[in-house]
Every structure is written in structure tokens, then in C-alpha cells.
Symmetry: C2
Subunit: 525 residues, 2 copies
Amino acid sequence: MQLPIRVDPAAGKSLQSQIAEQIRQLILDGRLAPRTRMPASRELAQDLDVSRNTVIGAFARLTAEGLLQTREPIGTFVAESVPIPAPSPQVLPHAGSDETTRRGARARIRQRLQFHDESHQVLAPHARQLSFDFWVGRPDARVFPMRVWQSLLVRMLRGSAVHLCEYGDPQGVLELREAVAVHVGATRGIATDASRVLITNGIQEGLNLLAWLLVRRGVDVAVESPCYRGAARVFAGHGGVLRPVPVDEEGLVCTRLPRSAALAYVTPSHQYPLGATLSLRRRQALLAWAEDSGSYIAEDDYDCDFFYDGAPLPALKSLDRNDQVIYLGTFSKSLGAGLRIGYMVLPAELCEPARHAKALLNNCQPWLEQAALAAFIHEGGFAEHARRLRQLYTLRRNHLCAALAHGLPEWQIDGRGGGMHLVVRLPADGPDAQSVESMARARGVGVYGVENGNAQLFPADAGDPLHRVLLLGYAALTEAEISEAVLRLRQVARALDANDAVEAAQGLAVGAAAGAISNTEKPPS
Amino acid sequence: MQLPIRVDPAAGKSLQSQIAEQIRQLILDGRLAPRTRMPASRELAQDLDVSRNTVIGAFARLTAEGLLQTREPIGTFVAESVPIPAPSPQVLPHAGSDETTRRGARARIRQRLQFHDESHQVLAPHARQLSFDFWVGRPDARVFPMRVWQSLLVRMLRGSAVHLCEYGDPQGVLELREAVAVHVGATRGIATDASRVLITNGIQEGLNLLAWLLVRRGVDVAVESPCYRGAARVFAGHGGVLRPVPVDEEGLVCTRLPRSAALAYVTPSHQYPLGATLSLRRRQALLAWAEDSGSYIAEDDYDCDFFYDGAPLPALKSLDRNDQVIYLGTFSKSLGAGLRIGYMVLPAELCEPARHAKALLNNCQPWLEQAALAAFIHEGGFAEHARRLRQLYTLRRNHLCAALAHGLPEWQIDGRGGGMHLVVRLPADGPDAQSVESMARARGVGVYGVENGNAQLFPADAGDPLHRVLLLGYAALTEAEISEAVLRLRQVARALDANDAVEAAQGLAVGAAAGAISNTEKPPS
């Protein structure tokens, strides 16, 4: 049986709700008679081109409402007697009794909310309709170790529910902190233990925790110029004064660090967004500055799990003899951002304050996935998975470099040493990043200039070079997808060059015409 | 075979690590020879009195390290050839090269961290060694719907891993927001929809989000006196000036609300900590104040799922004609705090700013348990579970009230109308809450005075009455446990009364002796 149902992914409602509501209506209208047999969830899923879980969920809702009945193993049927549904709640009208007062209130509110409009672009883009998306720092969901993960979760849920029911230690599940300590020791040369590790809801929360501890109105915070916007916004949001410090091919230019800063936020492994790796010389200079000025360094090692062409430099934290470096890591790139598990390795004196701050922010992280991840690391599954990704991403990076070199030789490639994205510099005489970005989007390919790539620019970053930079995250695309995407980018670039030529030609023509006119205006002799 | 292993739950390391390390040592010392068969995980778990998962985890670690080998179905054995282990990381010495500079730095750091020592008591107590714990607001893990929950999680994980790998909508999973909108409509009379709901990491994060949006240095925030410490600390931490407003048996005394406040934080269902329910009259007065002063109201409905003796008053939010109430709810009490899922129902104009603020705080909540909870609610499982808990907790509340009335008739009971804890007022002529609390703890019973019960007191709260208040959370204790606990409390009270009598008598004796001495000091006549 084919049901008269349509679903629209772009609608404001989930597919499951759309399906449930339309079937509910069909039943209540009597168009689906009692005892009618429903199509099998698999068939309906195919008809509507949705996942089978979506249909199962919709059926389950209607069963709970008493509109459907399941008779194993025969199938699902419309209920014998259909109950009268409760009226669904309506949103209240906003109109208040006293307009004047309310306008006054609203005015004050707007003022209070002013700042927050700026935070806009920190949001990761959602529901992009693109055939090939080079969005930065996104892993490939197709290689997530789902079977292992599922069995780990089930194992963790065996036995007592106490961990699901009680508040956990704000610092995080002990087993996970132990696992993280071993992990950063083995992969980043950081000698630490569980007492120094704090589990966060991703690096973004780690930055908030730091800001809560160290940043007040008027406190100077040194940041890279350009830098990761999510960090800049958080420090500014806590009243900090951002002190941009330039970066070059060796990373942060440490001689330009202000002594006044209480905190310096850096991305040494793979500078965000420009991709440089901070040289050993600069790392030592940075640490010397921190010791000299009595400041902290926040080391954001967001995509450290992926290094190619030989061993990575050890983390800044591993050289931190004075315990002034706060190390921030995440499993968002190596496993998935939907788990929301990051961590900090803290200086001794910050451990307790950070634990209290985490308790004030949101008590602690959820237990289950922390416990599963701890087992995954301790039992060697994570190391194996990371190895596998490193091999895969190396191939994809090589393939992208080759495809670009062949198809768009005039595009200069940087930041290939590590991470999950390349930095492309467009030629000075061609179209800028924004033109390429928007035209590529029109052809179903997502590439990102620094600003739409969540980078924060400062006055010193103004001018041409940065507006000719494109970020290409390659981790989530297969080699075949990369080839096709680069073909389309090539067409985009050629089309834009052609336009430029035409415009240039038009420019000349207009000039000539103007000349002609001026001639005619000469008084006749 | 009995292994020479000991575990200590009080040690700073997880049981799993303790077991793994001791077995590792036995193998590396050669005391467990290659090919030796290990005891079955079940036996070892029994010997050590730990869960079997703990042993399985320890074996799995050692297997990953190559020290153990599993030969299904025979069992687990010490490996044929034992590899040389990598040296485990040592924590670096803290001593720096230049003591003076470092002391300078440290001094500045201490200053910056000063505030955070205050936040101390927001932490939920951990690893309490008590036979019977009346800690407030904790559900009974023994009735968690584990089987259903496990199958929901597995169902959610079927199919694509995309949700585990990508950042979600900062506002929360759409299906869960839809489910929450229906839930608060049905149970609290709040007419809303998914666009107004934002999913948070518990109410604590909701409070932070509000503070981020509305509180700046010097902004007045009206709070109940006494109030929930977690809220007071957050608002103060963002620079807000707390304006305590007294509470009585009708709840907040609205006539005392300052016009200057940009925000009023209230707990209308079950005032924290004193348990009063805000009367309808007062609710209307509170809303009138908000409209008049153009302020927001934060309605913390932390344990609204449990009402006894008839229907609850509708939520303040349901009477909110001017859209000035921010409603905060949580699943920490009805399901479990370890899930870390709370929600806000927001005024229209706060939705986008709140969404951006959530993105800045930590991007979004983890996906999996949000998705499972959505299905749990939509399919009717949650409503059924909540109904079951309500029946269970009603019995436990009644049992506690009866046991107290019988065993400690001089203790006055309040706040029985709802929630998960009773408020006990100790007689004015007897020992105070702190004495009862500490002596009860010594006998394995946890009861809490307002301060150790996470309440924030203000100068106006000083004086006797509040120091004679005890909070007794009963949700996690069976009737049998409650009976035994109340027996012990009775002994405590009697013992304290006796002490008082003795001290009083001693006081007299001392007085007499003093008199005698002074007499002897008279110069002989």
C-alpha cells in the first residue's frame, strides 16, 4: 500500500514528526480505516527516502498514542477504536496588556543582548545542501567504529544505573582521565597523570573555563592574528582585551607578544586558520615569554592526532618546565564532535579552581560516553582507529594536493604537514576567496575563505593576502569525491577568469566611448 | 587460583587500574609465568568484591598491552612471550629555573583565582560513606528503566554515525525539543513549541547561559533569601549584584522585589531550600512586577515532576502573557543527573541570543542520549516512568512523615506538598541542625542543614530559625531504609538532649565552684 504522504527535509519539523502527523491525520480523517494494515517500515522508508529508524520512530509514537497497534509477527495495523486526541498546545500571543511598559522593557533588553549578535559566526554551518563539502576539521562518519562503540556502550550499561542517576566528579570520569593521561603521554610527550586532567564538553568549553578563571574586564589576552573565532569571542565575552600577535610561516611571532597579557592563546601544531607549525625555536621563545611575564599559555591542539611525513614536534606542554601551559585537546576530530568530549591538562595550581569552575558551569559531563571512551582507549581500540584514520587522511591529502597541482597549478598550497585541512593561496591577479567561495557553492562545492571558516581577523590582517586564502578540509571526502570536487573548482576558477577578462574589455570600451564624447564637445573651430 | 592482589576503593586510582597494575607487576616480576591460566573474571571479581566489568576491563587492558591472551572458550592466559613495557610517564617537577620570577607569577595568579575558592560548596558531595543518605534531589538508581534505555540507545545507533561525528544544532536535537514542548504542555500547562526550547547540560548550565546573556558587572539580580547556591554563585560570578528577597510560607515576598533588578531567580514549585509553594496570588504579583520593571523572571522548576495530594499549580511560565519568564527544567530528578539533560523554554527574543550563547559555551549537547530521550518521551515510556516514580515517592514521603511523627514528634515537618525532600524544623530549645548533622553522620546517616544542603544564606537569614532547619531527601531510600535511618536519628536526638542536660548541670556545678573559690579568696576577717 502506498500512503499519500510527503516529507520535506527543509521544513522546520523532523522527518519523524512529519510522517507521524500525516499518518495521524489520515487515521483521524477516517482515510485510514481501523484494522488497516500499515506498509512495512522498510517499504515506507524506501518510498519516502528516509532512514528506517525514522519510520519505526513515527510508528512507535502513534502506537503510544493508541492510533496504531503492532501484532508480531504479522505487522502494524490501525487501532480497532481510535481515541480522541488531546488538543496540541498553541503558542501564546506575544501582545501584552501595556504596550508602553513593554516597549521600555524591550529597549533595555535589546541593549543587554547587543553583544551576542557578534557571536553569530561561531555556529557551525547546518543543513548545507552541498554535493562536496570541504568544511574544515570534520571527520568521515563512514569510518566511525560503530560496532565496537555500540558494544562498549552496552557493556558499560551492564550492572548498576548509579552512574546514570548521580552527579559525577566535575573533573570527569577517573578511568577516562587516566586514559587521557596515558594517551597524551604516548602521542604528545606530555608527562602527566589523571589528577591534572579535566574532561570538558569539547575545547570550546575548555576555553570558557579558562576565561572564567583568568579573564576579567580589562585583562589582556594575546591571540594569534588571525585566530580561531570561537576563542576570540569567548575571551572578549568575559571582558578581556584581545592583543593580536602576527603569525608567519614559523607560526606566532613571539617577539611581538605583549608583556601585559595574562594569557596567550595559541595553536602550535597547525595554526588556525593558516596552517603553520610553530617552530621549536619559537616554542622556546614563547615559554620564555610566559616565564618572564608570569602569564599562562593556552595550547589548543585541536587536530594534533593527524601528522604526516614523519613525527610531529612534541606539544608545547611537554616542554613546560614551569607548569604555565594549559593544554586543550579533543576527540571531536579523531572520533566525532557529536560525542562532545574534550580535555585539558592543567597546571597543578589550576586543577582545583578549574574543577570548581566546571561544577559551576554545568556540574560535569554525561557519564556513559566518557566510560565507553575510557575502555576504548585502555583496550587499544582508539590507538588502532587513530592509526587507521591517519593512513586514510594521508591518502586523501596526497590526492587533493595532486588534483590541485594538476587542475589548478596557479593555486599555492600550504599547511600540508598536519591536521585535516589545506590552506590554498589564490594568485594575486585572479578572483578573491569570496568570489570563488560563492560561485563554488552555486555548483555544490563548499570551500571557505578565512572568515566563513570561523577565523577572527584583526585590522593588521586587512588587505589582500588573507582575502585570497581558501581552507579545504579533506578528511570527510573520498578520493573519488575529491577528484570530482576539484574538477568543479577548476570550472569555477576558469569561469571567474573569463568574467574578469570580459569586465576588463568592457572597461576599455567605456573609456573609449567617454573619449569620443569629450571630442564631440569641442567647440567647432 | 587465588592471586595476591588487594584493591582499595579509597585509593586515588580506579579499581580497574589497581587490578591491571598489580597483575602487570606480577607478570613482569615473573611471579605469573607465561602461559599461566588466569582465574575466571567472575571468580576474581568475587574474591576482590568488585563488579565483573571491572575485572573484564582490567584483563582487556593487559590483553591490549600483550601481557595476556584470551583463548575462547578455554579462558585467559599469561602471554607466551612478555613484551618490555614502555616507561609510564612521570609528572614533571614543579620547580622552575628562576624562583623569583615564578613567585611573582604565582602571586598574580593567586589574585586572579581568589574568587573561585568561594564556589567550593556547589560541588555535590562525592564518595560519602553513609549507610543511609538523605541527600536532597537524588533519584533512586534502583528503579532506573535500564532495559528500555539500553534498547533505545542501540536503536539510535543503528544506521549512520553522522550524528556522532558532526556538531549538532546548539539549540539541541529537534526531536527532543519537540518532545519537551509536548511534555511541558501536558504536565505544566506551558503552551510552546520546539523553536522556543533549548537543551542544556542541566539547569546549572541554563543559569550560566542566562547570566551570559543578561548579567554584567553591576547588574542587579533578585534572588530568594535563602536561595540555591549554584544560582547565586553563577550570577555573582558574572559580576551581578545579588538582591536577596525574603520568603515565607507563601514563597517569595513579592512586595520586597527591587525595581532595579534585570532578572529575578525563583523556585515557585518547591522553594529551595525551604520547600514553600509560591501561591497563585504571589505568582500574579511576581508577573506584575516583571511587567512593570521590564525585567525577566528565571523560573527554576527543578523538581516539578513530583507533586502529591492533588494537581500542582500551573507553572509561572504558563501565566506569562508578556513572554518575560525563562523556564528551566531538568531530567536529572526524573531520570538521572548522569545524563546531564536539562532544558529552557525561552521568550521569543531570547531564542537566537541563547542559541549563540550555547554555541560559545560548548557548541551543543552530546547527541546520543538526547535522541534516546526524545524517543522515550514520544513513545510514552517517560510519562509511564514518571507516574511510577510519583507513586513510589509518595509512599516513601508518607512513610518518612509517619516515622518522624512517631519517633521524633518534636520535629516539625514542612514542604511535604511536592519535590523529593522534606524540610524539618528542630525545636528552639534543643540542639541545632549542625549538631544533629555531624552526630548523625557519625552514625552513618546523612541529613543536611541548609548550608551543607547547597543553600546560599544572606545576612537577613542569620539567627536561629535557619540553623534549626534540616533537609531530608527521601526519594532514593526504601521504606525499610527510612525506618532504620529514623531510628538512628532518634538515638542521635536523644543523645544530644542528654548532653545538653549534662552540660547544663555541669554549667551549674562550675558556677557553684567558682562561687566557692571566690569565697576562699576573701581576706580572713
